[in-house]
């Protein structure tokens, strides 16, 4: 399968702090690719750089063989959709308005069909469509954040810590959902601290440590690696 997203030699600094140092990541179309690593390893920075929110110091990001545009809103229009860490639902907007905001790039298009599609996938969102997003529970907000991302008709969905702060049963639901998204042909780049979950679901994975890629392989390979077991799966 061909590469859809190719990150080469990516370096990012915040002032004097180097967050990423020469990161190479290849994401193949139709796969789930996980990036695991500890807090502060640079996972979120990597996603924010891909979605244009952080400017890289060096390196290139190619999407479908072409360099990605620089501005976040143009990157979204290419079909690269980032569901940020901590869900970041617009708490004072209704659920329906949150979803419509997710389809913002489709100017002049009737978004009703897209809305219905999300409601079918997440019936809870339809029941509460006129409530403020701030009234939803953490798990429901995560569903809304993903549904809002899907409204942008992604070719690749960047998911940042979708399991953060959620009960195990909800985490399982979210991971089922991630599989379903892949099965619809949407490529997923998943960033997680929950290494066991992320390695279990993915087709390929990278281990990010102090801003560098330390290890890579299929999910199974990494689950079997001593290094990963010691550092990320202990307990």
């Amino acid at each position: 399968m061909e590469t859809i997203l190719k990150v080469t030699g990516l370096s990012v600094s915040y002032g004097h702090v180097e967050a990423l140092r020469g990161v190479d990541v290849d994401v193949r179309r139709g796969q789930i690719v996980s990036i695991i690593g500890a807090n502060g390893a640079g996972k979120t920075t990597l996603l924010r750089t891909i979605s244009g929110m952080v400017k890289p110091l060096a390196g290139t990001i190619e999407f479908e063989g072409k360099p990605l545009p620089k501005k976040p809103h143009k990157i979204v229009a290419e079909g690269v959709i980032h569901v940020p860490e901590g869900r970041k639902c617009f708490s004072g907007l209704t659920i329906r308005d949150n979803l419509l905001t997710g389809g913002y790039v489709f100017k002049g298009r009737d978004l009703n069909e897209d809305l219905q599609e999300q409601y079918k996938l997440f019936p809870i969102l339809e029941q509460r469509k006129n409530q403020y997003a701030g009234t939803l529970s953490g798990g429901e907000q995560q569903m809304l954040a993903v549904a809002r991302g899907l409204m942008g008709r992604p070719k690749i969905l960047l998911l940042d810590e979708p399991s953060m702060g959620l009960a195990p049963i909800i985490v399982n639901q979210i991971y089922d959902l991630i599989r379903q998204i892949r099965d619809r042909g949407i490529t997923v780049l998943l960033v997680e601290q929950n290494a066991r979950k992320a390695l279990g679901v993915c087709d390929y994975a990278y281990v990010l440590e102090n801003g560098r890629i330390n290890l890579q392989g299929t999910g199974e390979e990494l689950l079997g690696s001593d290094e990963v077991r010691k550092a990320y799966l202990a307990g």
Binding site: V76, F90, D97
Partner: protein, 290 residues
């Protein structure tokens, strides 16, 4: 209380509502008060006055010119005074400095042209009063009230029902995440300034009709600040409610206490209100959630 006083108060309140919403819109996107809003009102009203001087045109052309001038001034202000600060995530102090500076600049430019004189808009209404039974109501109050209401309804429609309005609300809650939805935040913020400028232009003309035009007319923007604080900073509905309340209370106090004490009483009431409900009338709706 007579009908006359009530209508006068509501009309005054509706002008305050134009000021307060224009001010609240910018507060929403900048998370800071735009202190140049008052001078924008004055400057756009003066532009309309001088451009149409002697042309004998009616109220509507005057409002249109003032609205266009307000939009233009706000656009320039956004670019010169706020854009860099916003993009760099700089401290709010810079917004304070740049908005005060812009305001002083506009006021200075107006003073150069107008001196410290008072100007009167031409008489826009052939019959200055309407009689309903024994009550005498000023025509300008009624007209200003109606136009303000139409402007506010259009604003509410834009904010609640349109793609632009949704983008604006999304940016108000979380600018970073709004950008991840494909919203060009710079463009939307520009448009927000344009809308705010249009409201400032209309409010400027109305204040000019009510109190005559003079270079420091914009200091009446304080009434808009107060209204939007009473309403709950950032809430547009709250701003409108706060503004009408303020207008009515002020007018009633004026008729009871006379001009000197009524101002003091108005401010005292506001302080007491804020003591008990610092988040304003609509406060809880606009609080950011983690």
């Amino acid at each position: 209380m007579s009908l006359q006083i009530l209508i006068n108060g509501i009309a005054t309140g509706s002008i305050y509502a134009l000021i307060a919403t224009g001010f609240a819109l910018i507060f929403n996107v900048l998370k800071f008060s735009n202190f140049s809003h008052g001078a924008t009102m004055t400057a756009s009203a003066f532009v309309a006055y001088f451009l149409l001087e002697g042309a004998g045109l009616g109220l509507v052309p005057t409002l249109l010119v003032a609205a266009a001038a307000g939009a233009l001034i706000a656009l320039v202000g956004e670019f010169v005074g706020f854009r860099r600060i916003l993009l760099n995530h700089s401290s709010a102090t810079y917004f304070f400095v740049s908005s005060i500076t812009l305001g002083t600049l506009y006021e200075g430019l107006v003073t150069i042209k107008a001196g410290s004189n008072f100007f009167n808009f031409p008489r826009f209404f052939s019959t200055p009063t309407i009689n309903i039974g024994a009550q005498v109501i000023s025509t300008s109050d009624v007209v200003m009230f109606c136009i303000s209401m139409v402007a506010l309804l259009i604003l509410a429609f834009i904010i609640q029902k349109t793609r632009l309005g949704r983008a604006l609300r999304a940016i108000s809650f979380d600018r970073d995440t709004a950008q991840l939805m494909g919203i060009n935040s710079t463009r939307i913020i520009q448009l927000t300034f344009v809308i705010s400028g249009v409201l400032a232009g209309i409010a400027g003309v109305f204040l000019g009709i009510k109190y005559t035009l003079y270079p420091t007319l914009g200091s009446l923007v304080v009434k808009g600040f107060i209204a939007s604080v009473i309403g709950g900073l950032g809430s547009l509905t709250g701003a409108v409610i706060g503004a009408v309340l303020l207008g009515v209370v002020e007018t009633i106090l004026l008729s009871l206490l006379g001009s000197g004490y009524s101002t003091i009483a108005t401010f005292a009431i506001m302080l007491v209100f804020l003591l008990f409900r610092p988040q304003g009338i609509a406060g809880s709706n606009v609080q950011e959630k983690a």
